[in-house]
């Protein structure tokens, strides 16, 4: 009969209208600024740089400015300048560090390829998305100070992944230490013989310059 389909449709909308007052399945709105969607652990938005220590983010960045991410980044939104000197990283090893590390979030496509290719687990994906700015150049270009976030933050965002990364780094570090110890032992063994060349002077560890605490 003419009109039966229309009535059926009207019944559906009426059901939804009434349901929106008592049935959470029919009232799906997350009222954003007050309520926030619980972001899944895997959620990614823009990259950040992992530092070991919240107190001294610049001194303990994992990044060694190898520039792999810069090369692999499909939209080429990463800009890195290597430092000319070396600084000790978190484990005290002398490393090159990024003198400049900029990510243009106005270009970044959140593809996560930088994270995948980073051999040092130094760059990870952040979950902050409330980044609207009124100025494109000062607001959306993030430098290394803005990018550096402590490892604890990473744990907070991606607990599973962070735990894996920590495990892996710990094993690697251990392996490296053992290797170093073995090398040292070998060296010591070699040093037992009379030295052919004079031993190098002890390395001078430059203190990191004072840095204001990262916001």
């Amino acid at each position: 009969m003419l009109g039966s389909g229309l009535l059926q449709g009207l019944a559906v909308t009426a059901k939804n209208f009434v349901g929106s007052f008592h049935d959470p399945k029919r009232f799906v709105t997350t009222q954003y600024p007050e309520e926030k969607t619980r972001l899944p652990e895997a959620y990614r938005n823009f990259p950040f740089l992992v530092s070991e220590n919240a107190e001294d983010p610049m001194g303990t960045l994992r990044c060694v400015a190898c520039q792999i991410c810069e090369k692999e980044c499909p939209p080429q939104c990463i800009y890195i300048e290597k430092s000319k000197d070396k600084k000790p990283d978190a484990s005290g090893k002398q490393q090159i560090y990024p003198a400049v590390f900029d990510i243009d979030t106005a270009v970044c496509m959140s593809c996560q390829i930088c994270v995948e290719v980073c051999p040092f687990d130094a760059i990870k994906m952040d979950q902050v998305f409330e980044l609207a700015a009124t100025d494109r150049f000062t607001g959306l270009m993030l430098d290394r100070h803005a990018l550096a976030k402590p490892n604890s933050y990473f744990h907070q965002l991606h607990p599973t992944e962070a735990a894996e990364v920590d495990d892996r780094l710990a094993t690697e570090r251990k392996a490296a230490e053992e290797k170093a110890r073995a090398a040292a032992a070998a060296k010591a063994a070699a040093a037992a013989k009379p030295p052919a060349v004079p031993p190098p002077p002890p390395a001078v560890v430059p203190l990191p310059p004072p840095v204001p605490p990262a916001a």
């Binding site: 009109g3 059926q8 972001l39 899944p40």
Partner: protein
């Protein structure tokens, strides 16, 4: 009070007074619909010539979203192109990923672990659900329903997007699949969530059909409108639900049997009239079949690795060769044609866009119908401009 262009939405502003007077009294009215128009699904433009309200000529104009996907693909590494494929048909990033991954795997002769294949089927079918649901919503929007069907469609879409997000990290631009498998394994509880969604989807479809399928206005607006003959459809390279609505049984999941599709029991619905209603209904029925596939896949999915251990992401250089590989995307046959010269970038990177080629028959379908029908026919073809223009 200020004065502005006389004719705001036609592409050529300043259509003179004289011209419009001629159109008043003359025979035909030329209307430029788009590139900004509520129902062109993006920046698509139709140059329509009207006799009264009847379409006598319709020329599609493309390129307003031509973002040089193929050129960028030739300048980017194989891996780097993967996130770009997300942005082709931005409603169906997972199937685009799969099509591209499959092409590269064929180019390099890589194998994919079983679990990854299952995951790919699951994601592809979820994408199909997502795409067809959105399409139904947009189609009804084009028919003039004020948002409600679209809202219901997007309500369900959000559920699927939540799944995608918890798996891949992004709602739309998943960038999930890799040559030789998938990027990460499904997190704990993901498969259960997918099962819950699959089981609940049928009841949503029931409600949606109650809202619309029997609706007299919808039937009057779509039945007998824009009939596509099987012969023209095949000749014009039309694929996907459009082709099947015209009565041609050609579904690459059955024909090519890529992935693990031969393992699943599903049917391919066929239309008899090839009109807009058939195109709509075939999609609805396809969704029901997708639910069946999903249930089987989620039941059978094995444990195991998700990545071929030999796969290499960085510095991936396939040997020289050429491949054309295609899958059944929600909109039709999405194919990738890759030529490798042995370098880190493909020498030629070509996307076979189903949306663009399905538009070949747009004028044939619209001629003789009114402008309101043209809008609905365009909606039923289901295009996404990111893929049409690339």
């Amino acid at each position: 009070m200020s004065f502005s262009d006389p004719s705001p939405l036609s592409a050529a502003p300043g259509a003179s007074v004289r011209a419009v007077h001629d159109e008043f009294h003359g025979d035909l009215l030329e209307v430029s619909m788009g590139p900004h128009h509520p129902s062109t699904h993006g920046v698509f433009r139709m140059m329509v010539t009207l006799d009264g309200e009847t379409v006598v000529k319709l020329k599609p104009v493309f390129g307003y979203l031509h973002r040089n996907h193929e050129k960028i693909g030739e300048n980017t590494s194989y891996l780097g192109s993967m996130p770009y494929t997300d942005r082709l048909d931005y409603l169906c990033s997972m199937t685009n990923n799969w099509a591209y991954a499959l092409a590269v795997e064929k180019l390099a002769g890589q194998a994919v672990p079983e679990r990854a294949e299952y995951l790919r089927v699951i994601l592809a079918e979820l994408t199909r659900l997502l795409n067809h649901t959105c399409l139904a919503g947009f189609l009804l929007q084009d028919c003039g329903a004020s948002g409600t069907p679209l809202m219901y469609a997007f309500r369900e879409r959000e559920k699927i997007l939540d799944l995608f997000e918890s798996l891949s990290g992004s709602r739309m631009m998943c960038n999930y699949q890799r040559f030789g498998g998938c990027r990460v394994d499904a997190p704990a509880g993901w498969l259960d969530a997918a099962r819950a969604l699959t089981d609940g989807y049928g009841s949503f479809l029931d409600e949606y059909e109650a809202l619309l399928t029997g609706n007299e206005i919808l039937m009057a607006r779509t039945q007998g409108i824009g009939c596509l003959s099987a012969k023209l459809a095949v000749s014009a390279g039309v694929t996907g639900p459009l082709l099947r609505a015209a009565g041609v049984a050609y579904d690459l999941r059955k024909v090519d049997g890529y992935g693990f599709y031969p393992r699943f029991d599903f049917r391919v619905p066929l239309g008899a009239h090839g009109d807009t209603y058939d195109r709509y209904m075939v999609r609805v029925l396809e969704m029901r079949e997708s639910i069946r596939i999903l249930q089987q896949a989620l039941r059978d999915i094995p444990a195991g690795p998700i990545m071929d251990p030999k796969a290499k992401l960085r510095g991936f250089r396939p040997k020289p060769g050429e491949v054309y590989s295609r899958i059944e995307g929600p909109k039709g046959e999405i194919g990738f044609h890759l030529i490798s010269e042995g370098g880190p970038n493909p020498y030629r990177y070509r996307v076979r866009p189903p949306s663009l080629i399905n538009l070949t028959i747009l004028e044939d379908l619209c001629l003789g119908h009114s402008i309101a029908d043209a809008v609905v026919i365009l909606g039923s073809i289901d295009i996404v401009l990111g893929e049409v223009d690339r």
